[in-house]
Amino acid sequence: MTSTTLIDRDRPASTSPEVIFRAENICVAYEDIPVLENITLDIYKHQITGFIGPSGCGKSTLLRCFNRLNELVRGAKTTGTVSLYDRDINSFHPVEVRRRIGMVFQRPNPFPKSVYDNIAVGLRVNGYRGDIDERVETALRQVGLWNEVKQNLKKNAWDLSGGQQQRLCIARAIALQPEAILMDEPCASLDPISSARIDELLCEMKQHYTIIIVTHNLKQAARITDRIAFFNVEAWESDDRLETLSSLTHKNVPLGYRVGRLIEYAPTVEIFTRPQHQVTLDYLSPGTHQHSSSHSRDRQY
């Protein structure tokens, strides 16, 4: 299976939407230990793309390649290119990339400041010349938080509920008017009601933003995404793959070592109804294929 055939199969024939991101041959290693191998995929504009797969398969790692957040992790090494509208993101200033591509994390991480300042700080560091008050209000309205907090914008963001905090974090990202928003399991630490609100919000946001979302919640993935990339951790069986990784690591990576790979990338409907691979099917309907050995949830060394 090569990545080229993947894209050919998946690319919509005539009315193909514009490609915003193109990831080519992405490999990532942490401290000489490879975690992702040869990922190639296109992300389409104004769609929600879901990354799914078992823990440790490198979904979040790949997500962090899109805004160059990985390079801040000590010991992380990335090869391959990610382009934003055909321009290699490594040619941008990293700060510029992160202004244009927002990110929302797994656990709500508002700053220990007021609700207002949580949004204003991003505008200030990016030298926003317009009316900050107006941007704060717009962003809060978009995430449906305005009516809940307008009375007290000076309130410390840490006193909000978890769901409100996460919406504040989304507002903080939206306020910078990014072209895409990366979301790393944004609902993982939220209750079902807050989570449903955020799903709703994401579907509305789709008109204006490109969203990539990592999720373990298959229902969420089915409900809100347009396309899904399924990743899995797999052992590599033959030496030929070591070639790609030799540039990444100094250590000898043994055969049978497990690394994250892109298994399948297709429109959501196709993934759920006609998955091309047995592992995808196993993952999407766990319990019905108990004897499948490829269904590993933990990375093993």
């Binding site: 801040l72 991480n109 700053f111 990016n126 974090c169």
Partner: protein, 316 residues
């Protein structure tokens, strides 16, 4: 997948409940005893202080203690203006803090944010060793090195002065500020930094607008702790700042950092070293001064405690 079955074999499980009960009680008693010793010591010190202080104020009215402009307890025309000593203590302490806060804070930021883990692992213990240098060494360092050095820049500087004592006390409490602030800054979770970077902030912007505000309560409490250490600092100021109580007056000699002053701790040392008979007024004076010192540091510690409780950031 096989599941372990519930065990019904009683013979396999025979804990010695009786012995463990006595051991539990004995341990509780031993720990309680040691906890009691430290608490009792503190209470004993406070009671002695209070008792002798009351004795003192039966001979010297509180009003005089607070309003006299001179500190001459050993003269025949004795005056007990405590603010003479307090002003000297505050003078050396504020010089110390002026030195220690910028130095300590910048060191903390560079250690936790910029240094590689390797460097941090070496520098941080080294910094903490600096805190272990005996204060008498700092005193001689101030008297024999810093004062002559400063005299080359400041011609009017006397051999004993508040300035070099303050500077050296500042150096001696820098590790405290640096180490505690560094802990606070280092404890700011990665998720907050990631959040800031993801908004397009640079490293400097992240540190200034996210990390430092998040670590503020820890930083402030380290500074307050350092202030109370500077106020209680004894050896350095006794050796380097001199033994001359400067009367409070319009000539502002009492806040002149270039001349010898006498801090509260220096006075206590002076009287304790002499052959002051127990029960005399001079003897009681040191308790009154000690009490004042204790109250000042107590207020600072309570304030720091309150501040941390009030502003502590709970990183779940």
């Amino acid at each position: 997948m096989t599941v372990d079955l519930p065990s019904t074999n009683e013979a396999l499980w025979q804990p010695n409940r009786k012995a463990s009960k006595y051991v539990e009680l004995a341990m509780q008693a031993i720990f309680g005893l040691f906890a009691l010793v430290s608490v009792a010591t503190t209470i004993g010190i406070i009671l002695t202080l209070i008792y002798e202080t009351i004795e003192f104020f039966q001979e010297v009215p509180l009003w005089n203690f607070l309003t006299d402009t001179r500190w001459t307890p050993l003269f025949s025309s004795a005056q007990f203006g405590i603010f003479v000593l307090i002003s000297a203590t505050l003078l050396t302490s504020s010089i110390a803090i002026t030195v220690a806060v910028p130095l300590g804070l910048l060191a903390a930021i560079s250690l936790s944010e910029y240094a590689s883990p390797k460097v941090r692992k070496i520098i941080k213990p080294a910094l903490e060793i600096l805190a272990g240098v005996p204060s008498v060494v700092y005193g001689y360092f101030a008297l024999l090195f810093v004062t002559p050095l400063l005299q080359t820049f400041i011609p009017g500087l006397q051999g004993f002065n508040a300035l070099s004592a303050g500077v050296v006390v500042g150096i001696s409490i820098t590790p405290l500020v640096a180490s505690l602030s560094e802990d606070a800054i280092y404890a700011v979770p990665r998720s907050l930094r990631d959040g800031s970077y993801a908004l397009g902030a640079t490293k400097r912007e992240t540190i200034i607008s996210v990390v430092l505000p998040a670590a503020l309560s820890g930083i402030v409490s380290s500074v307050i702790l350092a202030v109370s250490r500077a106020i209680g600092e004894t050896m350095t100021v006794t050796l380097a700042a001199g033994q001359n109580p400067q009367p409070i007056g319009p000539d502002l000699k009492f806040i002149n950092p270039f001349i010898p002053v006498m801090t509260m701790t220096a006075f206590i040392v002076q009287v304790s070293l002499g052959d002051t008979p127990a029960g005399s007024l001079a003897y009681k004076t040191i308790y009154a001064v000690g009490m004042t010192l204790f109250l000042m540091t107590l207020v600072l510690n309570i304030f720091s405690f309150w501040f941390v409780r009030r502003f502590r950031e709970k990183y779940e």
